[in-house]
């Protein structure tokens, strides 16, 4: 087999003074100021609209947000000066908007305040962002830890099996009053592993193997075997834990990264076919999933049965109530959705109170984040970096699609967290790490090439 420990070259030497590559750190700072301003104004507006006066801790909130943004910016400025200037501001804006929405929903659930926790988790997320940007000088280091990554990922995913189920899914670890979703971290580790493995073996995967017919070639089992096994194992564990959203994500991630590495579209088609069969089987035999598919096909069936609107129906009502311009922050009734309003259904609040315009803006922000990720992948010169950037961008894209499509009735609903927006500590922290890695990757991608090109 091939070595995963590709030789890590030293960081490229700093460009000579007056080099042409623009760093765009000023742009980033300006955008960050805008993102912080929007979040603080949103925070103030929610206070005014729901209680009639400005929220008490507004000054602290604003200071905290400014400090976090500045700190993150400094880390990027010092350690990743060539990084894409859009990544950090988008993350700050999305996280800020999420906090505004959670704070707004807290008003309707006085017994269950979560904005404070979310703020702490966000702070931790920013701290980890700073740490990753500061300590990880070259993303290729990660290639060395591919097998460690996958081992840790599997352990993380297995742990919750030993903890009691919450809402029918074994995906949380609870201790000391905190709940934690280790599967969230596993997705980064798995992306790192896939990227490293596929980068090391992609020639074998792309070119060898027995020809079946036309262009379809049997992928060499020797190479494909281990990664397929790990992927099946992780998806299997998730299915056992009934974390269908994440298993869907892992499946999509695997297919996308395999395709990027090999360009074998036939295999992707077969994979999708198998997935469709699997999904059909799960959807038919697993009552939990079955009911969600039913809900998706006919969201108002429960109303016709006289049981009142279900979660999805309430979510659709919320989106419908928002219309084009929305009811205005604090003026919606998305709390009718019930217990998942702050987590899985946070987009419904955005849709109801900010309208189609606001929701589209949020989705476009995600689109921009993903696009910037892909762009880093395109500009990178090492296959591991390219694959990792593609994988991380795809993780964000798939998550957004699965949850946004679910709550708006486009696809069956699968529980998953909207990156940055939804309430949930592990999700926020994980997404900050993803953005940190993308910052690191984009820095490498945009860094002026040293005079002597290192061999790929």
């Amino acid at each position: 087999m091939t070595a995963l420990t590709a030789k890590v070259t030293e960081p490229a030497p700093p460009p000579p003074p007056g080099a042409d590559a623009p760093k765009r750190r000023g742009v980033e700072l300006t955008l960050l100021a805008g993102a912080v301003l929007i979040s603080v104004l949103g925070h103030l507006y929610v206070g005014l609209a729901t209680t009639g006066h400005l929220p008490g801790p507004a000054a602290r909130y604003a200071t905290g947000l400014c400090a976090a943004a500045l700190l993150a910016h400094l880390a990027v400025r010092l350690r990743a000066p060539y990084a894409d200037p859009l990544l950090l501001p988008i993350a700050v804006l999305l996280n800020g908007l999420g906090l505004v929405l959670i704070q707004r929903l807290d008003v309707t659930t006085p017994g269950h305040l979560t904005a404070g926790d979310q703020l702490l988790w966000s702070a931790l997320g920013v701290a980890l962002f700073v740490l990753v940007v500061a300590l990880l000088r070259d993303h290729r280091v990660l290639q060395r830890y591919a097998y460690l990554s996958v081992a840790v990922a599997l352990v993380l995913m297995l742990i919750p099996v030993f903890f009691p189920a919450v809402n029918g899914a074994h995906i949380w670890i609870r201790f000391a009053g905190l709940s934690f979703q280790p599967g969230e971290f596993a997705k980064i580790l798995l992306a790192v592993f896939f990227a490293a493995y596929l980068a090391a073996n992609r020639t074998a995967l792309a070119l060898t193997g027995r020809r079946l017919f036309w262009k379809l070639r049997l992928l060499p089992g020797r190479v494909l075997g281990p990664i397929l096994a790990i992927w099946l194992l992780s998806v299997g564990v998730l299915v056992l834990e009934r974390d269908l959203g994440t298993s869907l994500l892992f499946f999509g991630l695997f297919v996308i990264m395999l395709f990027t590495a090999t360009g074998r579209i036939g295999w992707i088609a077969i994979g999708l076919l198998l997935a469709a069969l699997g999904a059909y089987a799960v959807g038919t035999f697993e009552p939990h999933v079955h009911s969600r598919v039913d809900d998706w096909l006919n969201p108002f069936a429960s109303i016709e049965r006289g049981e009142g609107p279900g979660q999805l129906a309430q979510s659709l009502f919320a989106f419908g109530a928002g219309g084009l311009l929305g009811a205005g922050l604090g003026h919606g009734q998305s709390f009718l959705i019930g217990f998942a309003a702050k987590s899985d259904f946070i987009l419904a609040t955005a849709g109801e109170e900010l309208g189609l315009v606001g929701l589209a803006a949020i989705l476009l922000l995600y689109g921009l984040l993903v696009a910037r990720g892909f762009r880093a992948g395109l500009a990178l010169r090492d296959p591991f970096g390219r694959l990792l950037a593609t994988g991380l961008a795809s993780i964000v894209a798939l998550q957004v699609f699965v949850i946004a499509g679910g709550v708006t009735g486009l696809i069956p609903l699968t529980g998953m967290a909207m990156p940055f927006l939804a309430q949930g500590g592990s999700s926020v922290v994980t997404n900050w790490i993803i953005v940190a890695l993308l910052v690191r990757l984009s820095d490498s991608a945009r860094r002026p090439r040293p005079a002597k090109e290192p061999a790929e």
Binding site: G320, G323, V370
Partner: protein
Amino acid sequence: MIRYIRWCAYFCALLLIALLVNIARVQVWESAAYGANPANKRPAIERYAEPRGDILVDGRPVTGSRDSGQLLRYERTYANGPLYAPVTGFSSQTYGTSFVERAEDAILSGTDPGLSAFPLWYELARGRPAGGNAATTVRAGMQRAAYAGLAGKRGAVAAVEPATGKILALVSSPSYDPSVLSGTGTKVKEAWTALNADPARPMLNRALRETYPPGSTFKIVTAAAALDAGVVSDVDAPTRTPDPYPLPGTSTLLPNAGTGCEDASMADAVQWSCNTVMAKIGVQVGLRGMVEAARRFGFNGEGLRVPAWVSRSNFDTDMSQDQLALSSIGQFNTKATPLQMAMVAAAVANGGELKYPYLVDRTTQDDGSQVRRGGERSLGRAMNPATAVRLQDLMVKVVENGTGRNAAIPGAVVGGKTGTAQHGVGNAGTPYAWFISWAKAEGAALPQVAVAVVVEDASADRGDISGNGAAAPIARAVMEAALATG
């Protein structure tokens, strides 16, 4: 690999486009359908998020709002609910609204565009103006007098101002307290079920929505028709009417309640309520003439809106001569609401001109500035002015020296007409006691008030039941209240 990364990016872009198209579908296309779904609580939450405007009587609110702390926040309260229920109706979070609560809902709930000088401002600010108020034409003193007069007996009172059509009192008895229906939950549902199951039908607005045979009070319409048509030119001239009167084309004999009706003049016939004379006069006027006269008084109309809708009062348009004879004395299929009979009295009192009755004087914004004024409208001329003057004299005689003496008020000119309406199979039911009247303070140019009272089940001996015994004292009390307050 670059090519495949691009493809992945395009794939993600496709997902994003799918999401955007779908949210546009949900938020623009389906938005109205979702909003109209009965399971969607948003319209109700918004509707009850602010206190409802008030309904005013004599400038003072007879309604209120209570913060229930529930999802549907403000509930309706009623001061003196049973007294004003026929006016206000109910405003229930479970069962909707009725009467003025319904007719002026847009004002009271704050959705009327007239409540804001700049409707666009609220559109932009995502707010809503505070609910406005609806000032009624009802006078508290008269309303109380009518309600106390009925004293829980089944019946109704309608009083109008003849010159304007303002409804001064509107009472139905037995009544109910609309506040028991205000909120949500099992208590409200139980109250609703109980009210609907009650054989006394307390939620029925007898003044506007129940039609009764008007009995002898209808003789005013017949007399007006006869005078207008010239069938009777001298009210004091004796008519050649046998007692009892054989109904034309049949062998049935129509009797009188009292004596002295043989060949009586129309004046005496009104004064002593002679069935025979008035039935014969009705036949002489003829079907077309009688139908036309009844129509001019408001019978067979499209249905009034005061602004709550009023049941249609009926005078058959296709009858044989004997049926016409009975209809002319307010029997057979002739049916009238108490408000309709108050309008008959008011037309006489107002010199023959009939005003459109109305209940809401003006609607105002929260701060009292006017939104709309309930306008006076004419319903047309019910009779010639000369006819009205002669009928006024006849009605005054009824009270001064006829069947309606219980309505007399010292120091005032009062005209009235009693009625006792047979009903039920074979006339087996307890007769309805009617009294319609108007009153004018001494020296006033025009009568201030016209009243109709109907009592369904006066718990007196059947023989004693008459307009004069059961209904006239109530009418008098209402008229006294009207004259007292001006």
